[in-house]
Symmetry: C2
Subunit: 199 residues, 2 copies
DNA sequence: TGTACATCAGTGAACGCGCGTTCACTGATGTAC
DNA sequence: TGTACATCAGTGAACGCGCGTTCACTGATGTAC
């Protein structure tokens, strides 16, 4: 049953993509390798042809999730300076939208950071790199606009903390208090907007 | 081997207290009932004399963790109005201190919310109640001071989002980039302070 | 107050299940000639 | 280009372990008289 090297690489990529989605939805321990491989149309026995352990897949899945998340921010910072502020605000509105809150899959920081903190150092390092990268990209999206030079990193850190904290809280109260959840989204959006407008 | 009703109640309380600590440290699935009961000096067989399932203990443990967390905030709002601002700032500095970041056990929102979102509705409801209570208490701690009346709830929500997000990020990058982690704590502290000072 | 018995918190072994991981096997692909 | 064989991605059964939960049992406590 040997298959093309190219097909094998595609299968590996499919496994990572499914994991990036399912781990965020259900947590690292929330889905078994057997279920994950079935998701992709494979049986679980062949898993170890691609990875040495489940934890290695977890790291690869986080890397992919962070990359996808970062690409949205990269798009903002690649806009001409005059459009960046509006684009960044759109990003914020999107991040803190009802759709993002209700989606099964969220930003990796919100979905996985508490679990990631308890895993091995390889995963924790990847997580730290993902966070650092996000801070850098938010800073770049601000640069050359209405934020005083040299101040972007501080603003970026504050903004990311609000984004992550806001989405976490909104998702946390969603089922039990939908009104409060909507309020959290709206208020955090407004707070970030006014914070980035000043000075 | 029957024991006093009072002793039994104490044992139950000890189990909940150990769970409140260990679940936050290792996650709900990170510690087994056998290990948890051993922590208290009991064997795991008797667990079901006190609880109908592990999930029931998880809910009780969250309730206790939220109560303890809330009591620190209650202390702030019970101060005379003139002292409240300083007391709240102390609370913020404490929440975002290096000690809090390095502690094995953190605030339940930071430690458990992503996992709690995937559990049963009873636990999710308790979580939502805990968050709502925290917002109310932060609002109360602001009332009658340098924040315009009617605005406390918005400010409280923004503040809680920053606290939670800031601690989550700081804990997330701690091992891989201690300098960034310290910066996050300092910047988020500063941002909250300036946010509560204005108007 | 004293006695007799039912209650029930705790013990420790056992059950059953799902999981990560391993393994012998398959057969088309990749490669050496 | 064609042939012969080694490689290796995938299969499906099996292993071993840890976990939540159950159960028969113990014996001091709580209670009815």
């Amino acid at each position: 049953m040997r298959i093309t090297q190219e097909e094998a690489a595609e299968n590996r990529a499919k496994i990572v993509a499914a994991a990036a989605s399912k781990f965020r939805e259900k947590g690292f321990d929330g889905i078994s390798l057997a279920d994950l491989l079935r998701e992709v149309g494979l049986t679980h026995g062949g898993f170890y042809n691609h990875f040495t352990s489940k934890e290695e897949l977890e790291a690869a899945a986080c890397e992919l999730a962070f990359e996808r998340s970062a690409s949205k921010l990269s798009a903002v910072s690649e806009r001409p300076a005059a459009q960046r502020h509006v684009a960044l605000m759109e990003y914020v509105s999107n991040y803190l939208s009802r759709e993002a809150r209700d989606a099964r899959v969220a930003c990796p920081i919100v979905s996985l950071s508490s679990e990631a903190a308890r895993r091995g150092s390889a995963l924790r390092r990847r997580f730290a790199e993902g966070i650092r990268h996000h801070i850098r990209l938010i800073g770049a999206a601000m640069r050359g606009h209405d934020v005083r030079l040299g101040n972007e990193r501080d603003k970026a850190i504050g903004t990311l903390a609000m984004l992550v904290g806001g989405l976490l809280l909104a998702r946390g109260v969603k089922d039990a208090d939908a009104g409060l959840s909507d309020d959290i989204l709206a208020i955090v959006r407004k707070t970030i907007r006014s914070q980035l407008r000043q000075e």
